[in-house]
């Protein structure tokens, strides 16, 4: 166990090509990014549908969505990931065999995106619902008076007008999505956190590798913050400055 303290800062371990582990770490980071982006996008789609369903859907749809958001927000992500990971791949395989296809080998990436997306969907449903409710009713009424169809209203008025209200919540969700990808390490998907642990375990330079991974995550967060600020100024153009 006792490595000599000098190995704490053995920078050559981070070299991009073997025997350095830098390349492996970066590959894991790219995997994390893929899952975060995919899961977030899926969550946005689910969330948009969920928000409109909760606001304008039939009573049954409203109740079912309520159950969905309540369950996801009350059960730890780690448990949800396990449940969805096993249940999702299982159901898909049963469906495929029922349809006469062979059982598919679900890629970890697709499963990860699905799991993160379902979790994110519940949260973004709530965020978007709040944002849609913040759009002045008169604007939507005016759109109706112009004779626009519901989809046109959504595309031209509701979505653009709600965006400034939704951005703080949605940017939060993006940051959560990037951090939630780490949980997939528990189901053995080789994203950044898991490969970091493998690298640290095989070289015994634990602190170096975990700090390096931390820096990667942090850079992602900081870069996201800059991007969010740009998007926010663009979405808010023409609006009065918030007090």
């Amino acid at each position: 166990m006792a490595a000599d303290p000098g190995s704490l800062i053995n920078w050559s371990l981070l070299a991009l090509s073997p025997p350095g582990w830098g390349g492996v770490l970066l590959a894991g980071f790219v995997n994390s990014l893929k899952i975060a982006v995919g899961g977030y996008a899926l969550g946005l789609v689910l969330g948009t549908g969920g928000a409109f369903g909760k606001l304008y859907g039939s009573p049954v749809i409203k109740d079912l969505l309520e159950v969905y958001t309540t369950l996801v927000r009350a059960i730890p992500e780690l448990v949800l990931i396990l449940l969805l990971y096993y249940a999702g791949t299982d159901l898909l395989n049963q469906l495929l065999t029922a349809l006469g296809f062979g059982a598919a080998d679900v890629s970890g990436l697709a499963a990860g995106i699905f799991v993160i997306g379902v979790v994110q969907g519940a949260y973004s449903t709530e965020v978007l619902r709040g944002a849609i409710k913040a759009v002045p009713a008169g604007q939507i009424e005016a759109a109706r008076a112009f004779g626009m169809s519901p989809t046109q209203i959504m595309r031209r008025v509701t979505l653009p007008a709600m965006l400034p209200h939704a951005i703080p919540g949605l940017s939060n969700l993006w940051l959560i999505a990037t951090k939630d990808t780490a949980l997939l390490a528990v189901v053995g998907f080789s994203e950044l956190t898991l490969v970091t642990r493998q690298a640290a375990g095989s070289t015994k330079a634990y602190i170096l590798f975990f700090c390096a991974a931390g820096v990667l995550y942090l850079l992602l967060t900081l870069a996201s913050n800059i991007a969010i600020r740009l998007i926010e100024t663009r979405a808010r153009r023409g609006m009065a400055e918030p007090a």
Binding site: A74, L78, L83, Y206, F210, Y217, L218
Partner: protein, 272 residues
């Protein structure tokens, strides 16, 4: 921006009882009851009695983790929030950096950094091995408590910063006009009012903290999640233990939400 907490969308509301029983709800509840019946009848639950004692103990560990880290984290959050409002500058930067780093990296990574990183570092120092702390440093739970406490402190520190900054300046001015010293003013007016303002978010933060506790199972702390993992390894049953686990967390969340609401109703509030 990102200084808004996620508490806004955390689960803090339960359905009210008003007009709960509508025709379609009765149909939905019947379907749910049938589903539940199928789950109870057709799935394997024979392992539950054997593990019930361990499960109960696991729940106790989870709740102990939650309570200790939330309380410690909140105590840390007060100074972290305060120095970000008052300064001095170096402390302000320090607190700000702490919050950014902790909130910008996954909790799982922090946990493993502490457990594997420090755990591999400590044995190299003979004076640590001979100190009274050594027996504890070889356990897993102190690392879990530390990581969860730090995380709670960072998120709640951000909330407290907003709460301290949001106390109306007139109230503080009035206190100064009464001739209160800085410490008295802080103790009598500023801190109570800030905590008062932060209370609504505390519920959401605590629910999120409960959801973070199962991570300590990855560093060999035996909480309720770890017990269920053990059940799955020993019985080769995939779904049933996970369903029970989800149910346990659902109940714990519900208890938290109801408990917080009870206390919130007892604290007099006028407006915001």
């Amino acid at each position: 921006m990102t200084d808004q907490t996620v508490a806004a969308v955390a689960l803090t509301e339960l359905p009210t009882r008003q007009s709960f029983l509508k025709p379609h709800r009765i149909v939905l509840m019947t379907i749910a009851a049938v589903l539940l019946g199928c789950i109870v009848v057709y799935m394997r639950w024979d392992w539950v009695p054997k593990y019930s004692g361990k499960l109960a103990w696991g729940v106790v560990v989870t709740l102990a983790m939650l309570a200790s880290t939330s309380i410690l984290g909140f105590l840390l959050a007060v100074p972290i929030g305060l120095v970000q409002v008052t300064g001095p500058r170096p402390l302000k930067w320090l607190a700000n950096g702490f919050c950014t780093i902790v909130r910008g990296t996954p909790l799982l990574l922090q946990l493993w950094l502490l457990y594997y990183g420090l755990g591999s570092l400590f044995p190299q120092f003979p004076w640590i091995r001979t100190s009274f702390l050594w027996p504890y440093l070889r356990e897993a739970w102190p690392y879990g408590v530390t990581a969860l406490t730090i995380s709670f402190a960072a998120y709640e520190g951000e909330v407290m910063r907003g709460a301290f900054a949001g106390v109306p300046p007139g109230e503080l001015e009035a206190a100064r006009a009464y001739g209160m010293g800085r410490w008295t003013l802080f103790r009598r007016i500023w801190l109570p009012r800030a905590i008062h303002r932060a209370l609504p978010t505390l519920n959401g933060e605590t629910v999120l903290q409960l959801k973070a506790t199962p991570l300590v199972a990855t560093i060999t702390v035996i909480d309720v999640y770890a017990v269920i993992s053990k059940v799955r390894q020993e019985t080769y049953i995939t779904y049933e233990p996970l369903l029970l686990l989800a149910l346990i967390y659902l109940c714990l969340t519900a208890i938290l939400v109801v408990g917080f609401r009870y206390f919130e109703n007892r604290i007099p509030t006028r407006g915001a």
